[in-house]
């Protein structure tokens, strides 16, 4: 064996392995590993690849259901949607790279999630992204946001996947640790799904796509370590994405799949060749033998360590039968791509890597892929616990109009057009609802049915009450789907947390996962996959626990789907659900009163589900003109958004009756509420549906006029021209980016 480096404690530490883990490695392979082998274990046993801290808790998520074809474990989850089609979807984080190099970090994040989808045989039909930044008055945060958004745009637009939605939240905790979570949905034919399995002894192992360079060596371990002062040094580990190559790769892969030339396929994302070879072999109970001299290389003099650990983008590993190799190569040549045989599938479950005629790696794949120790890390709630805040200590607004306009300028609430205008959200001509609706709606060509997708996750809730926040994240995503008329069919989730070695972070994690699990169970939706991103701490400060839920829903008849904007003057505005005395954890408290405190809204999942059912039934019976869920900013913001999203900035007047304080009533974020509009003649039918499902429903007002008016118990609270409110909402984010 070459590369006889002595492996000392320092080396082990640099590879983010503990001494116990190292001892286990020695035991598993029956000798000292060499440096390349150590690198391989280090990658595959990193938190990012092995889920060693999260596994025990992730088991609590419900993963089964009658339509689940593939749950967690593969590159993406798969749900059978009938008529011979499957939906393939997944969410991934690219937080650390996006902080280091916002444009390329975010771009390659998009590239990675796209490959996860098309490696399974699905054509990506839509993408979304969930972003978290620090406050925009800090220039560094603006430049991160600018870079991230243009990076996502740069990659997605060129590749040709519509970026149809997402969410953006702002909080101090993301200042040195932005979050970039990328979601993608693909469609495939049920009988043309491909897995990462190296089946069939002696089948050829082909390397396709871009050449290998010294990119992002140790990217996966980087994503598994806290950033300290040595940030600068870790910097060169960022890759440059090539969306053009990726597009060619997509077309070539789908073509060889369509022609039945592929046995198994796996993208080379984080952990590159290492991950794809070992996982494909382990999944199939086989081994793989490759010769590194055959790997297309961009740079000279690369060592086996570098080649195996490189994270160069836009590459895939394909296993094909010997007599099909030539045809595979022809297809790739048509798309101007390399497809090079680098090895073969072997018996005996070992990864065998040769270089310059010598064996440089010889290890059991199972030990690398499946035998990483799982940790049940210590957890404990923070002490002291999060402070509760009593309404009585909160002063009521002097000037409601002013406060309301201010709330609309919170970047978390403000219009996100500055973001999504940079994304091609219409390519592929399936986008039936443009960004701005509660959920994005995608038609399926030649079908009545449509898919709806949404991302959600309010981390202020999960910070203050992790379990309840976890439930709410699921509930809100499902509510977004219900608002357009979609029934949820599957969940993917990205769990962004701090350092799991800290007991209070682990506690947050456990609580959130249990909350998410409970909600998914109640809504009866399977979790088909996701991603965990730990170590989102910079200089010892952790982000708020941030689960991002990506939920896919199905609309049976696209012509019945409903959007959030008011449609016509004189419609009745009806509230489904109840207003409660809950102001804690609200965006109003955070942005206007600068208090990140209080209890989160309490959620009754069963009631929530019934609210969705009322909405879904009403949409199915074509009783609703619009529906919009109440979330950040509360009832007032929800209603004014319906005005903004109407074709003409149509106003409304709300005449509320309530015993609640007006500020609580207007800005509180009680869950399980949907604001709908209906015509006079349908009022009774909708009320009957509400009664049937034991849901409270109340008429709040009517649409029309060009002002937004609210009164409570006949007392006028404020009135504002819709246009004035609209401008505040619309200009808030662009204002930060104006050249001064």
């Amino acid at each position: 064996m070459s590369e006889k480096t002595i492996i000392d404690e320092q080396t082990i530490k640099e590879h983010n392995l503990t001494l116990d883990e190292y001892a286990l490695i020695q035991e598993l392979i029956g000798r000292e590993p060499n440096l390349t082998e150590l690198g391989i274990f280090s990658l595959m046993w990193s938190e990012h690849c092995s889920y060693k801290s999260s596994k025990v808790h992730l088991k609590k998520l419900p993963v089964t259901g009658k339509n689940v074809i593939q749950g967690p474990g593969e590159n993406a989850g798969i749900i059978d949607i009938g008529e011979g089609l499957v939906a393939v979807f997944k969410i991934e984080s690219h937080n650390h790279p996006s902080f280091i190099e916002p444009y390329q970090g975010a771009a390659t994040g998009v590239g990675g999630i796209l490959r996860d989808i098309f490696t399974m045989g699905a054509r990506p039909i839509a993408a979304m992204n969930s972003l978290r930044f620090g406050p925009l008055d800090i220039p560094k945060n603006r430049s991160i946001m600018d870079g991230v958004v243009s990076g996502i745009a740069g990659y997605g637009n060129s590749f040709g996947v519509p970026m149809v939605g997402g969410d953006v939240y702002f909080n101090d905790c993301y200042s040195l640790n932005p979050l970039v979570n990328a979601f993608c949905l693909g469609l495939a034919e049920k009988d043309k799904i491909f897995y990462a399995r190296a089946e069939g002894f002696d089948n050829a192992v082909l390397y396709v796509g871009s050449k290998t360079g010294r990119d992002g060596i140790h990217g996966a371990t980087m994503a598994s370590a806290e950033f300290g002062e040595d940030l600068e040094e870790k910097r060169p580990n960022v890759q440059v994405g090539d969306p053009f190559k990726e597009k060619l790769l997509l077309e070539a892969c789908l073509e060889v799949m369509d022609q039945g030339l592929v046995v198994g396929i796996q993208d080379m994302g984080a952990a590159g060749l290492t991950c794809s070879t070992t996982e494909m072999a382990a999944n199939a109970g086989t081994g793989i033998e490759i010769d590194l001299d055959l790997v297309p290389q961009r740079e000279e003099g690369m060592t086996p360590y570098e080649i195996m650990l490189s994270e160069s983008q836009e590459r895939m590993l394909i296993v094909a039968e010997e007599d099909k190799v030539e045809r595979v190569q022809e297809v790739f040549a048509k798309w101007d791509l390399d497809a090079v045989r680098i090895g073969r599938v072997t018996e005996g479950g070992r990864l065998h890597v040769k270089w310059h005629g010598e064996t440089v790696v010889e290890i059991p794949v199972d030990s690398v892929v499946n035998l990483c120790p799982a940790y049940n890390r210590e957890y404990s709630p923070p002490s002291p616990p999060q402070p509760i805040i009593e309404n009585t200590t909160i002063s009521t607004p002097q000037n409601y109009k002013e406060v309301f306009l201010k709330l609309l300028t919170s970047p978390t609430i403000a219009n996100k057009e500055w973001v999504f205008r940079q994304y091609d959200h219409m390519v592929q001509t399936n986008t039936a609802f443009l960004p701005g609706a509660d959920a994005s709606l995608l038609r399926i060509k030649d079908q009545k049915r449509a898919l709806a997708i949404t991302l959600d996750g309010n981390s202020l809730y999960t910070y203050l009450e992790p379990r309840s926040g976890g439930k709410i994240a699921v509930a809100e995503a499902c509510r977004n789907l219900a608002c357009v008329g979609a029934t949820p069919i599957g969940v993917t989730n990205c769990l962004n947390f701090g350092n799991p070695e800290k007991p209070e972070i682990m506690w947050q994690f456990k609580e959130v996962v249990e909350g998410v699990a409970e909600a998914c169970q109640t809504f009866d939706i399977p979790v088909t996959g996701g991603n965990v991103s730990f170590y989102n701490d910079t200089k010892g400060v952790s982000i708020h626990p941030t689960p991002v839920l990506g939920i896919v829903g199905m609309v049976d008849d696209i012509d019945k789907a409903v959007s959030p904007g008011f449609k016509e003057e004189g419609h009745i505005i009806l509230l489904l659900g109840e207003n409660k005395d809950e102001l804690g954890a609200s965006e109003y408290l955070r942005w206007v009163l600068r208090e990140e405190k209080g209890r989160t809204p309490q959620i009754d999942l069963d009631y929530e589900k019934r609210v969705h059912q009322v909405c879904l039934d009403a949409i199915d019976q074509e009783l609703l003109f619009s529906a919009h869920d109440i979330s950040e900013g509360g009832l007032a913001v929800c209603a004014v958004e319906c005005a903004f999203l109407s074709p003409t900035n149509m106003g409304c007047s709300l005449d509320l009756r309530s015993d609640l304080r007006p500020d609580v009533l207007l800005f509180g974020e009680t869950q399980s509420r949907i604001l709908v509009t209906i015509s006079d003649k349908n009022l009774e039918a909708v009320l009957a549906l509400a009664e049937k499902h034991k849901v409270t429903a109340a008429v709040l007002g009517t649409t029309g006029g060009d002002t937004f008016k609210i009164s409570v118990n006949d007392l006028s609270i404020f009135e504002v021209p819709v246009l004035e409110a609209y401008n505040a909402w619309k200009q808030a984010i662009p204002e930060y980016f104006k050249v001064r």
Partner: protein, 81 residues
């Protein structure tokens, strides 16, 4: 005074644009072109600065604004006094 700053990807970083240009040149039968790297050039017009100041300011500007030191390198020269 006129300064020219050249910014390009570090040698180890993939340069998709340069590669694509190279391939295009090959289809046009310019086979003598073995490699292409593409970068950016900035021409800065400066006023009222001493040569010493320039020595200080330009690398600073290049490092913080014009180039992204994580993936890019730069060089600069005076092209007009």
């Amino acid at each position: 005074m006129k300064i020219r700053v050249l910014v390009s990807y570090k040698d180890s970083v993939l340069d998709p644009q340069g590669q694509t240009v190279k391939n295009a040149l090959h289809t046009l039968n310019y086979d003598c072109v073995k490699d292409v790297r593409q970068g950016k050039v900035f021409e800065l017009e400066l006023e009222e600065v001493s040569p010493e100041k320039v020595e200080e300011v330009i690398p600073e500007i290049a490092h913080t604004v014009l180039a992204n030191p994580i993936i890019e390198k730069f060089e600069w020269q005076v092209i007009e006094e």
